[in-house]
């Protein structure tokens, strides 16, 4: 039996695809909940946006580490 399925090219791209799942969900939750919070309490817009961006930056770091690792490793 020959080769059934084969993947060629840089495996790092698959790794990044996997690494983007978690932060993708996280960023979605952060902005979804943030918009909801602003809709409920528009007068707290500044505070909410501040914390939203802070949480976004912390979550996004995971995706970015995933992006950098294949370049560093190769």
């Amino acid at each position: 039996m020959g080769v059934l399925a084969e993947v060629t090219g840089n495996v790092g791209s698959i790794a990044y695809g996997l690494a983007a799942i978690g932060p993708g969900i996280g960023v979605g939750i952060i902005f979804g909940q943030g918009v909801q919070a602003i809709a409920r309490q528009p007068e707290l817009y500044n505070t909410i946006r501040q914390n939203m961006l802070l949480g976004f930056a912390l979550t996004e770091a995971l995706a970015l580490i995933g992006f950098v690792v294949p370049f560093v490793h190769s």
């Binding site: 500044n46 961006l53 770091a61 970015l64 992006f67 950098v68």
Partner: protein, 266 residues
Amino acid sequence: MIARQLLAAEGGNEFQAPGTEIFDWGPLWDGAPSWLTKPTLIVALSVIIVCGFFWAAFSKPKLVPRGVQNIGEVGYLFVRDQVARPMIGKDGDKWMPFLLSTFFFILVMNLMGVIPVLQLPAPSHIAFAIVPAAVVYVLMVFLSIKHQGLGGWFKNMMFPPGLPAWLYIILAPIELLSTVILRPFTHAVRLFANMFAGHLLIAFFASVGYWFLIEKLTPLGSGLGVLGFVMSVVMTGFEIFVQALQAFIFTLLAASYIGGALHPDH
């Protein structure tokens, strides 16, 4: 890969996506000192621009601002009201010189990525992201030890009060790792990776446009070339947004680290 070969088969050579080699810049001219490369030139230019801008804005301040001073004051108020005061608190104004120059220095370095001819965000070389992050880290460690004491710093970091005792077994090592090692690492890598990825993305779309419209113009490939061209314009706009956001987030996190060092209780 097959589609690309089909579209650009005539010359026998296929489209090559740009890789990390677009970040390699040798000395500016033959015989130039080896450190004098395009990224260092961009950093030096950014320093001059930021110094010149604030010199023009604030060297002779008027009570009723005119011209450049207006722009400078808008920038100052933005950093003060969005970053310094919410993150550090009442004594945030004392940290404004540091935060303002950090914000504008990184903003100008980032925006160099979309300025024609230069078109290289300096933090896409990780060294230029590590140095500001290292400055903030050293500052954070120094201020923490000065304001909380060495023992107090670790105690506030690893054992925040008001949690069930068994939780500290998990929390203490995580907090130690995240504050001492991951903070400076992510602080630098966040800026670097955003600029790196953005520059690579623009370069990719631009080279798609160039390849399929100019280098190898074919009836089938021209659509792809137009798409690449349009996307490179769209991505440039998006990059301006990301570059401003990353400068803001870098300053925001720097302020939050400083604020955490000064006031550990909140």
